[in-house]
């Protein structure tokens, strides 16, 4: 486990064709914590995750890492809202995430097998990745996160296509994973119950701005902003 670190997002802006889709003045995320990222469609959740993952560049500002002398060394994993499944086997799809990890073949094999088992698709190990159902593909994408020892895990609506059993399972698995690795977990979600079950803290975006940020219970019970109150009024917690 890595010593604690802190990500501090400062003056982060993202524009698409002159349209500001993300405008975060300040947001602090601590390792070992689990954050639920909530907000209406188009509020910028995926954009924020993609920027943190380094998959796209911010237009202005960025992330500062405190408590870690070599930020390049932080192992960051990202599960996109729509993951890509390669045309080869599910097993290889997941093993690909361990390439260059320095693990031996048999270690990789063990990890992949156990990750597939955890997400409940071990019987599909030899199936073609691109032929999976929506929920199965999402389970596979999650397995790609679970096989790695991450410092930062960014998940974009990881259970959106999953059935209720799988959803409950995944919520437990994620909590376990965070406790085991001590990673920073940031999960975008539309489900209030999920936010409550997996996260200590809630970050709410509205039109690209952070409108609520704090302890999960506090935010859910006493939102401070008008947008927060409106959005949460539909959430029967």
């Amino acid at each position: 486990m890595r010593p604690p670190f802190r990500l501090s997002i400062e003056k982060l802006k993202k524009t698409y064709a002159e349209r500001m889709v993300l405008d975060i003045d300040e947001l602090v995320l601590d390792s070992g914590h689990a954050y639920a990222l909530v907000g209406p469609n188009g509020s910028g959740k995926s954009t924020l995750l993609k920027i943190l993952a380094g998959a796209i560049d911010a237009s202005e500002g960025g992330v500062v890492v405190h408590g870690e002398s070599n930020p390049e060394e932080l192992r960051v994993g990202f599960m996109p809202q729509k993951s890509y499944s390669f045309g080869f086997s599910v097993f290889r799809n997941v093993a690909l995430a361990l390439e260059g990890s320095g693990l031996t073949r048999s270690e990789i094999g063990e990890r992949v097998t156990s990750a597939l088992d955890i997400v409940g698709i071990s019987d599909l190990a030899d199936a073609r990745g691109s032929s999976l159902s929506g929920g199965e593909a999402q389970r596979m994408a999650l397995a790609r996160i679970l096989v790695r020892d991450l410092d930062v895990a960014l998940l974009d609506e990881p259970t959106a296509s999953m059935d209720i059993t799988a959803t409950m399972l995944v919520e437990d698995v994620l909590t376990e994973y965070r406790e085991k690795t001590g990673c920073l977990l940031l999960v975008a979600t539309h489900a209030p119950s999920q936010a409550r079950r997996i996260a200590n803290s809630i970050v709410m975006l509205s039109e690209g701005k952070v409108v609520e940020c704090g302890d999960a219970q506090d935010v859910l019970l006493q939102p401070t902003s008008a947008q927060g109150r409106e959005f949460l009024s539909y959430w029967s917690v």
Partner: protein
């Protein structure tokens, strides 16, 4: 009919003029394909992969060049290689290299445009996932090409097909010189003009057979690399209708 058989037996005789024509044609097509894909695929991958200023212009230019009339490509190469042209001193006009050059001018934009399209269909969907899995840039590129392999293979065969069936440009810069630059298409034109229909037809049939073989190889390669769901889409292409109906 007898004459047709005669034409065929002549073609299969090693060292005959006809067999020499077939051989030269294959040579020309092979060179053109290899060179135009060697230039066009990497270029197309870059264009499809990266956003840069002027990309739209390049795509538009590529699309225009993809529809370039062969005679025009021939004309340009002719001027460049003609005695008074910039490369006239090389004395390449009316040689195999001249024909290959014209073909490369013609086919490279096609290869480039098709590879750009193939890559840009997959790359954006794959990028976030590959990046999120911690794959290096180089590895991501490799995986991208791997995922596009069946399209890339078919592009190769499109190039070969274009090349083997080309007349205008080849006629212009090759000159249809006997034993030197006469290929199947130009030979067919000549034989037809001279009234030797049986030779023309025999050559045409051979051209067809070669095309058929090439296409079969391409298809079987594609089938092997195509994912099951793509094949399924191909089988059921009655778009906009209710499926699974029973009488």
């Amino acid at each position: 009919m007898n004459e047709l058989v005669q034409a065929f037996s002549l073609m299969l005789t090693p060292g005959s003029e006809l067999s020499q024509i077939v051989l030269l044609t294959l040579q020309m097509a092979a060179f053109s394909t290899v060179i135009s894909t060697a230039i066009g695929v990497p270029l197309g991958v870059c264009v499809g992969l990266y956003g840069f200023p002027g990309k739209r212009l390049i795509m538009r230019l590529l699309n225009t060049l993809m529809g370039l009339p062969p005679v025009l490509a021939g004309l340009v190469v002719f001027f460049i290689l003609s005695r008074s042209g910039p490369l006239g001193s090389l004395r390449l006009l009316y040689t195999l290299p001249a024909m290959v050059t014209a073909q490369v001018v013609l086919i490279t934009p096609i290869v480039c445009g098709l590879s750009a399209t193939a890559v840009s269909n997959v790359a954006p969907r794959m990028h976030e996932t590959a990046h999120g899995m911690g794959l290096s840039r180089g590895r991501e590129l490799f995986m991208l090409l791997y995922e596009c392999r069946s399209q890339l293979v078919s592009i190769l065969f499109v190039a070969f097909g274009r090349s083997i069936g080309e007349v205008g440009a080849v006629m212009l810069v090759g000159g249809n010189v006997q034993y030197k630059t006469r290929v199947m298409t130009t030979a067919i034109m000549l034989e037809t003009n001279m009234g030797h229909f049986e030779y023309a037809v025999a050559l045409g049939i051979v051209l067809l057979v070669i095309s058929f073989i090439i296409n079969s190889i391409a298809l079987s390669l594609q089938e092997r690399t195509m994912s099951p769901e793509t094949q399924m889409v191909w089988n059921h292409s009655r778009a906009g209708r209710l499926g699974g109906l029973r009488k």
